[in-house]
């Protein structure tokens, strides 16, 4: 079986991973966030990123503003709101829980495999 490391995570991790991307900087651009999410192991297209960011903005988890650039078009920059920070902390807690549960499951599998091998 081959494993594609860039698409190992299911799409339901998109929002928590976007929060992780957003936590790396005070202000983030869409492309940077897409790259961050891909770097965390989720393969997602720009349309998915855009829709999730708009959804988060409508839920007041993010705010955005257009910023001018001297050498290019205006860009939309995203900022985590106060309620977004609470959601970000929850997202981190959820990811930690998922990690611990998966880790426990994998440990159990390893123990069983070791027992069978004896």
């Amino acid at each position: 079986m081959t494993t594609n490391n860039a698409s190992v995570l299911p799409r339901r991790f998109l929002r928590p991973l976007l929060f992780l991307g957003l936590s790396q900087s005070d202000r983030s651009y869409g492309y940077e966030l897409a790259e961050a999410v891909r770097g965390f192991g989720l393969s997602i297209d720009m349309a998915g990123i855009y829709r999730e960011l708009r959804s988060m903005e409508h839920k007041d988890l993010l705010s955005s503003e257009w910023v001018s650039s001297d050498n290019g078009p205006d860009r939309r920059v995203y900022i985590v709101t106060e309620s977004g920070r609470e959601a970000l902390n929850q997202a981190i807690a959820d990811l930690e829980l998922a990690r611990d549960q998966l880790s426990a499951a994998l440990d159990a599998v390893s123990v069983n495999a070791a027992k069978k091998a004896r």
Partner: protein, 156 residues
């Protein structure tokens, strides 16, 4: 559309007047966004569907309307920002339309449009009747607690 996509979908108003304003703002914003992120400023109806969740057959209508209004130019099935559209600038749309197109808050859930305009209130009422919410209205003729059929319930 899976659950994740559904959660990420934008909730458009139901009255035609606000719908046009809403989709005009959303389409132009996504075109400015793509341009700002370095992906060019050309879209077609399937792209609008992927980015905004509006069905392509409806998206074409909104795109054609933006051509009529001078914001876009069309070449075959592809649409680009016109000089006029570019001059308007992303900031104008972010500032001018964001409050108009944003769901009303207060007692409503954050995706409710009921308080946005008289048109929208009428459209919501028609929507409720259409979706057999006659019992709700019978118990509460002023519509003080109801479900709009798009997954949330709130008080007016």
């Amino acid at each position: 559309m899976n659950a994740q996509d559904e959660n990420a979908s934008l909730v458009a108003p139901k009255s035609s007047a606000l719908q046009m304003l809403y989709w005009r703002s959303e389409i132009l914003q996504v075109m400015y966004w793509l341009r700002g992120e370095g992906f060019g400023d050309i879209v077609d109806a399937p792209m609008v569907e992927r980015f905004l969740g509006v069905e392509a057959r409806n998206g074409i209508g909104y795109l054609d309307r933006l051509v009529e209004e001078g914001y876009l130019t069309v070449d075959g099935t592809f649409y680009a920002l016109s000089d006029f559209g570019l001059k308007q600038g992303a900031r104008e749309f972010a500032d001018s339309f964001s409050e108009l197109t944003k769901p009303a808050h207060g007692e409503c859930s954050d995706d409710c449009w009921c308080h946005a305009s008289v048109d929208e209130a009428d459209a919501c009422m028609a929507h409720r009747v259409e979706h057999n919410h006659a019992m709700d209205l019978k118990h509460d003729p002023h519509g003080h607690t109801h479900d709009h059929g798009h997954g949330h319930t709130h008080d007016h």
